[in-house]
């Protein structure tokens, strides 16, 4: 869900199709795994480190992407995502190769002497908190000057540059923020699993996250959360259908795109517009 929020910044706001998002997730997870195992850095500090390194990597990834657009850009991000996975798979001495890294500490709240352990519930609350905070902050960014620049970039890159939007910086910052969020998600993932390995970060993850964003409605923060919910829950709900489960899942997705291509919560739901409507409706009555 965090991942969906992060990718929504890149694809939904700035309109840059990124097929290598799992790479940023992986960078976040491996960063925490490495600093925790070798330097014994606790979870909460690791969270910041992971997020920053994924953000940096996101910006690095954006550099070749600055000159490209559309299909070509998608291929570059796809390639970058695969490179990261393959590098992690082959640098045995650092990343442990295909076996991954083991023995990552679980997070805890030191002032309560509480350890999160291996059960799911504490992580559920942790992630819920992170999602709420992230959604709130992203909402603020969306309606700020930078958010407007991103959306202008998505709508019409050429016009945006002629209106004085610094295109390279707008793209870099979108990748950076998206990477930051992916880093947080990666860190939590690594801490919960207690182990990381390259096959958790393959192409399918990128595609699933992208599907969440598109399903919920591109450029819509609530939509991204809803999309993530549905795509995680749907396979479980359909479990009763046994072997037809994935078939039904696929059909549901196709139907969705046919009947509501703008996503469940619609393209970019507009606070400004609603505000205006409400004012207009209130106007005559007030007089």
């Amino acid at each position: 869900m965090l991942l969906a929020l992060g990718l929504n910044v890149i694809v939904g706001f700035a309109g840059i199709l990124n097929l290598g998002y799992a790479a940023l997730f992986a960078i976040g997870a491996y960063t925490y795994a490495l600093v925790n195992i070798h330097l014994h850095i606790p979870f909460w500090i690791g969270l910041c480190v992971s997020a920053s390194s994924a953000a940096l990597f996101g910006m690095l990834l954006a550099c070749p992407a600055l000159r490209l657009s559309g299909d070509y850009l998608a291929i570059v991000t796809l390639g970058a995502g695969e490179i990261v996975r393959i590098v992690l798979n082959n640098t045995d001495r650092i990343s442990g190769g295909p076996n991954g890294l083991l023995g990552i500490e679980h997070p805890g709240l030191w002032f309560f002497h509480y350890d999160f352990g291996v059960q799911s519930e504490p992580y559920y609350f942790l992630i819920a908190c992170l999602v709420i905070v992230t959604a709130f902050l992203l909402r603020r960014l969306e309606s700020s000057r930078l958010g407007r620049a991103w959306i202008a970039l998505r709508e019409d890159e050429l016009a945006a540059s002629c209106m004085g939007v610094n295109l390279p910086w707008a793209k870099l910052s979108a990748f950076g923020i998206g990477g930051f969020i992916a880093g947080i998600a990666g860190c939590v993932f690594a801490a919960k699993q207690g182990t990381v390995s390259p096959d958790s970060f393959d192409f399918v993850v990128s595609v699933m996250v992208l599907a969440m964003v598109v399903l919920g409605g591109l450029g819509n923060i609530l939509g991204a959360i809803l999309g993530a919910f549905l795509l995680s829950l749907l396979p479980e709900i359909l479990r009763g259908f046994d072997i037809y489960r994935m078939l039904l899942f696929g059909i549901a997705m196709i139907a969705m795109m046919l009947f509501r291509p703008q996503g469940i919560l619609g393209e970019f739901h507009h606070r400004e517009e609603f505000k205006g409507r409400r004012k207009k409706l209130a106007g005559p009555n007030a007089k």
């Binding site: 000057r145 002629c162 004085g164 505000k275």
Partner: protein, 267 residues
Amino acid sequence: MQSKKQLSDFTILKVENITQHFGGVTALDGVTFSVGHGEIVSLIGPNGAGKTTLFNCITGLYVPRAGSIYFGDSETNLNRLYPYQITAKGIARTFQTIRLFKHMTALENIMVGAHTKTRGGILAGLFRPRWVMLEEKKLRLQANRLLTFFGISSKAHELAKNLSYGYQRKLEIARALASDPKLLLLDEPAAGMNPKEKDELLELIRAIRNRGVTVLLIEHDMKVVMPISDKIIVLDYGKKIAEGSAREIQDNPRVIEAYLGKAVHRP
């Protein structure tokens, strides 16, 4: 009279020897002209003469092969700058085909137009200190004022794609003006307008000039070009073939030739 003369003596834009090729096609071939402060200058010529290419060179979308462009009293050649830096220097433009941000409201379109006049970044957006809120408030006020100036304030909260064609054209000009430019480039603003809308446009362009903005205009419609232009520049096949007042241009044999073809001389 004296003061007006002095005003237009001050050159705001100087284009020198601009040349641009696309493959084997020479789109612009050594074009040289200058625009005085406070003037309305029109750029005319047959289709494919290189008018829009010239606009793209001035706004930094293309980097010309040769030549230089100077703006205001600065010595910097605009060729070396990115489009957003050029906008920050005070040149704004509209597009031949409407390029509004379709899924943003009219007000937001204008707020993006003022991008170079504001300075909030990531942290400012996240934490919203007092100065950012004040800046946003001021920006909204200015944007609303611009919409009122263009007579579209009732549509402020409509999505740009839902506006009528005439309003979209106006909104494009308003968005360009939001960056508070010294020089405004209009690329065929009257395209697709009916006669009444064209009259309104003429008034609008004059009003914009009276606010102290110099206007460089590409237009095919002579009913728009002739009455408002202080100076007309004619391009044909990438070359400047004439420059002068409306009357001079109307009588210029080379211009007539470019538009209508050469008279056949019988032996």
